[in-house]
Symmetry: C2
Subunit: 125 residues, 2 copies
């Protein structure tokens, strides 16, 4: 069964080497040999990752030049951003709840310290 | 080998049923039975998906209530948004290039039509 495009994109992104390849290509096109250089990985190993990225439409490889450079195709990443953007409200609310909780803790701590100070006649007012 | 958190999140999101479960939980907490209802899937099948989402920290399941409702944990989605946001410039540039190309095509088309009209004495000026 062929996976839907978004599932294929997420699967392609679920590997740190493939994400590092995209980060390198964000700086400009590169050959397979250049892409393999920073990784302790064989050319066939890198080629396998490139195939996964290519199938997901995240990179393309030049057909005509002899050195066939790879380049980034960012469109599927925009689809990821659109998808995850639907949940922005949720993580912002979750952050606000944490913020409220921490402020509440701080208020109690200050109140506690205030109570303590009441018994210390030397503390300046 | 344990995958890094972002890889685990992307892998969890690479399935349409799991994304549908998140979309349902974005509306509010739900029991496993409620989550299974819209899918033609056995409870063990759904439970397997829930375990993947739980391991990725995308959902949590209540421990104390008898019906153990699941709820959305949006923090890993914020990490996805942060990661993909680095590439925004790229898809925006790519969209602008397409826009320029289409405008250019339209200009040529209009120029072409204009040339054609030159031979039509009945066309109002």
């Amino acid at each position: 069964m062929e996976a839907d495009p978004l599932s294929t994109t997420f699967a392609a992104l679920s590997d740190p080497t493939r994400r590092a390849i995209l980060a390198r290509l964000a700086l400009g096109e590169a050959t397979v040999t250049e892409l393999a250089a920073p990784f302790d990985m064989s050319l066939p190993g890198i080629s396998k990752h490139l195939k996964v990225l290519q199938r997901a439409g995240l990179i393309e490889q030049g057909r005509h030049a002899q050195w066939r450079p790879c380049s980034l195709k960012p469109e599927p990443l925009r689809d990821v951003a659109d998808w995850v953007g639907q949940y922005r409200r949720h993580w912002e609310e979750s952050f606000e709840r944490l913020d409220t909780y921490l402020r509440d803790l701080q208020d109690r701590q200050e109140q506690w310290n205030g109570d303590d100070d009441a018994h210390d006649p030397n503390r300046p007012r």
